[in-house]
């Protein structure tokens, strides 16, 4: 039996061929090393994300998240729900909070769920994968598995918004959370504590609908990483990763910059440091290739 077991809510972007499929691959490799068992919630659905607000209304949005709670309770009773995506985590946590605090909303949700033959008896705990790593395993346990430290690699820890606000990781400040820098340190790389854009918004869904606004923000995030001598950026959020990585070409055209900096997931750094191959870490999923990590991943492991 695995040391830690959770009901897993991977989210739409993590699916095969979707924008964060490399995140999921690296999380699976990471969890194998850490003896964490993730069981996918059968037939889970989209959380609605924050951007669905024009049509979602209040109750439909919470009912959508509650369906996942009900499926989790029915199929994986007693297990906490773990999400890897910032928006999935936030959406589900918000629903949990609202339903817990309003009997009316809870009753209405139950009535709507009945239409899908489902019910909720107990409110599940909703965790982000980084909470599991930090709180359930701890930095010592995470560090134990490092066999290939990412020595000399300077990495800007970009936390972004939705894993940080409004809920955040317990004990961290909204303005200057430390955990991502600590994770960079844990894999043997060099963090940049003075990276002042670590909680700046990447523009979220506006990267699609109003790209000029989002790209102005992304420019600041990338520029500051360069100013501090970073070789790559790391983030815990799929939309942060995509927005900060894939529009660098368009930003270069718009602003005459020469950005070309890889943007990684914490899980990818960990898999390489844990001795995994480039394939295990899904490094081929980067649009801007992380050459330095690919080189390290090709090296033999010091045991």
């Amino acid at each position: 039996m695995a040391k830690h077991e959770y009901a897993f809510y991977p989210g739409c972007s993590s699916q095969k061929g979707a924008s964060a499929s490399n995140y999921l691959t690296s999380v699976e490799s990471m969890c194998k090393t850490l003896d964490v068992k993730l069981t996918e919630i059968p037939d889970w659905n989209c959380c609605g994300a924050s951007i669905g607000y024009a049509e979602a209304g209040e109750l439909p949005r919470h009912v959508l998240n509650a369906r996942n709670f009900a499926l989790s309770e029915q199929n994986l009773p007693g297990q906490e729900i773990v999400a890897t995506c910032a928006a999935c985590w936030l959406g589900a946590r918000e629903t949990r909070e609202r339903l817990t605090h309003s009997d009316t909303l809870m009753a209405d949700t139950r009535e709507a769920l009945k239409e899908a033959g489902l019910t909720i008896n107990e409110m599940p705990e909703i965790r982000h994968m980084v909470e599991v790593l930090i709180e359930d395993l701890g930095f010592d346990e995470m560090a134990k598995h490092v066999v290939r430290p990412l020595e000399g690699v300077k990495i800007a820890g970009y936390v972004g918004c939705q894993t940080n606000r409004p809920f955040g990781v317990a004990g961290e400040s909204f303005e200057n959370p430390q955990y991502l820098d600590k994770m960079v340190e844990m894999v043997g790389a060099e963090p940049i504590p003075e990276y002042e854009q670590k909680v700046t918004c990447c523009g979220g869904a506006l990267a699609f609908s109003e790209p000029e606004k989002a790209q102005a923000q992304i420019k600041d995030i990338v520029e500051s990483a360069y100013d501090h001598g970073a070789e790559m950026i790391v983030t815990p959020c799929p939309l942060c990763q995509a927005n900060v990585e894939i529009y660098q070409g368009q930003i270069n055209q718009r602003y005459g910059t020469k950005f070309n900096i890889p943007v990684m997931y914490y899980s990818q750094l960990m898999v390489v440091a844990y001795g995994g191959s480039a394939k295990d870490a899904a490094l081929n999923g980067q649009v801007i290739k992380a050459r330095r990590l690919e080189e390290i991943a090709a090296k033999p492991v010091k045991r």
Partner: protein
């Protein structure tokens, strides 16, 4: 009588009450003390300026400026970064109020029709709830083609390099256009959402009648 006219008539000269009863988290509006921390913390207000930043919208609501508030593009600039929420000294759930006012303006047909984020927001929700899971390719295509075929092709060409980069990295699948990921119990999802809309509508109507 249109939904908008009926609501305007019912809440005549009391726009604050209308917002309190009809908008999610609207009952928080009166708690604003006009410090402006939300406006100073907002990334899109900082970069390109809202027509009316949050604390201004709150004051306009109290001043009864119904038409100006409901038709502004302002709250559609929200990126859902939640910075205003965590910094508000009076703990107003500002992000949710912005979404709430936007949703209300959209619901009663007052929101600016071709505002790009309003369009995208509706598109996202419909895309996600149609099958239970987001189809990223159809979502992007739906946005690019919002102003018709010609504009769509032009918009698509602008995005060509981004799309090719993602395809090479196996993070965009062209075959999503012919199906893609979906939930098994789509019927259940539709039925449950239909019920949720019904309940929500009847609760709002009851408040209006009360």
């Amino acid at each position: 009588m249109s939904a908008n006219t009926a609501l305007a008539e019912k809440y005549r000269n009391n726009f604050l009450k209308e917002i309190e009863e009809q908008v999610e988290m609207g009952d928080w509006v009166k708690m604003c003390m006009q410090c402006g921390v939300c406006s100073g913390s907002c990334p899109t207000n900082f970069q390109s300026a809202w027509e009316h930043p949050p604390q201004e919208l709150f004051m306009m609501i109290r001043a009864g400026k119904r038409e100006e508030v409901l038709t502004t593009t302002s709250m559609w600039n929200c990126t859902s970064c939640y910075n205003c929420i965590v910094r508000c000294p009076r703990k107003l759930p500002i992000t949710h109020i912005m979404h709430g006012i936007a949703e209300y303006a959209h619901r009663i047909g007052k929101a600016p029709k071709m505002q790009a984020t309003r369009f995208f927001s509706g598109l996202f929700w419909k895309n996600a709830t149609r099958t239970g899971r987001v189809n990223e390719l159809k979502l992007s295509m739906g946005l690019y083609f919002k102003d018709g075929l010609g504009a769509g092709i032009k918009e698509g060409m602008k995005m060509k390099d981004v799309a090719l980069g993602l395809m090479k990295a196996k993070r965009l699948n062209p075959f999503e256009l012919f199906g893609g990921h979906k939930c098994k119990d789509q019927k259940g999802i539709q039925a449950m959402l239909k019920k949720a809309y019904e309940i929500e509508r009847s609760r709002k109507a009851a408040k209006m009648a009360g």
